[in-house]
Symmetry: C2
Subunit: 234 residues, 2 copies
């Protein structure tokens, strides 16, 4: 977007505007940590539509990253692509065009399909809807989310039986996207891990990475997480 | 995905599995035409879940592209990134990381936000829902779509007052994404072009490109398009 940095950003300090239980924000936090890039977190209640935040991102959604040179970035998929291009020491997207296409296909699987079929039905209904003042959860949606998640856990297991990680032999943005969605649902004990042992094993691998430690320490004041939430041996 | 080509693909022939009024399919058709890449179109009623098609794309959605070497690609955003990387003569994504971030932000604006707030509410309710046997259109959804589109037309106008095209001074994947969604809605006369003259001027520019000619000739058997649908001087 190439806008000048917002006045409360010091040039030189990388700043991530995030919301603690927002899967898209978590993706960027994990990517930055995997790449060993320092950043400052600022919590943003995007639904309050703070004027200065709308200037940074007219879509008024988290995450927004302001990089060290003041570049303002919005939309988690675009932010991760930018970080891959600018900070190349740690590669999370693959090398060849074909490898990258597979990583991107799976990122979109989780950010679009899983989000539509599962995350929205559970996280939005049970948490954000009330927070934003849109009323009570819709029980049909919750039922659909709880049913749909089983098939996605099976798909994760299917992929990891052929490969060590979701898109190949190395951790990629695909694992980060999937685990970010699941970690938020897991906060509410909404992931039936007993349904698929292989999916659980993959998640234990992700969870044990230092890049994941930070988001597992998030707490929202009104709700305590599931007992196993931050335990790698769950 | 790097799978072997499906048996009815001849290696050497690039094949796009598409659905005529699917915005994501149109994006790939326009990108291929802008890059002057030849391809064969195969119409796929993805909601029928044809077994061989599910093998190509487990998400069972159009578009799916099988490139000349047999590489199978799914998810329109991933397909366009692949085409940008492999076929570089015509650049549609920008040069610097910052330019690319802006193109990608706007692609995601239309493929996620516009799709959620407008396309789904109009196209799915009025056309695909009946086709797929999910019943009658929901009038609340249609009302929301008709209201939301006004603000998106204003955003297009806002962008093109600063720039020739949506993301900068050259046509990009952002224009292709936006125009693909709008072209489908325009088939049903669901775009109130009189609302914003600047947005209409931008669309007239896109519509007059040779890459757009092909999709404006699509017809679905049950419904005739709006009178102005394929007229660049509408």
């Amino acid at each position: 977007m190439n806008q000048p940095p917002h006045s409360d950003n010091t040039v030189g300090m990388r700043t991530l505007y995030h919301s603690p239980l927002c899967p898209a924000s978590r993706k960027i936090r994990v990517t930055l940590a995997e790449k060993d890039l320092r950043f400052e977190l600022k919590e943003e209640n995007y639904w309050e539509r703070r004027r200065e935040f709308v200037k940074l991102n007219p879509a008024c959604e988290t995450p927004v990253l302001v990089d060290t040179d003041g570049t303002v970035l919005a939309e988690s998929i675009a932010i991760n692509e930018f970080l891959e291009e600018r900070y190349t020491d740690v590669n999370l997207i693959g090398k060849s065009s074909t490898e990258k296409a597979e990583v991107r296909r799976l990122v979109l699987w989780f950010d679009l399909k899983f989000n539509h079929e599962v995350t929205r039905n559970l996280l939005y209904e049970k948490f954000f809807k009330r927070l934003m003042g849109y009323g009570e959860p819709n029980s049909d949606a919750i039922r659909a989310g709880k049913s749909n998640i089983l098939y996605h856990l099976d798909y994760i297991a299917f992929l990891t039986r052929k490969r060590k990680w979701l898109a190949g032999d190395r951790l990629s943005l695909a694992d980060i996207a999937a685990a970010s969605h699941l970690s938020v649902l897991d906060y509410f004990a909404d992931v039936p891990w007993e349904h698929n042992k292989d999916a659980k094993e993959w998640y234990a691998l992700v969870k044990s990475r230092p890049s994941f430690r930070d988001i597992l320490q998030d707490r929202v004041s009104s709700i305590r997480p599931a007992a196993h939430y931050d335990n790698p041996d769950f």
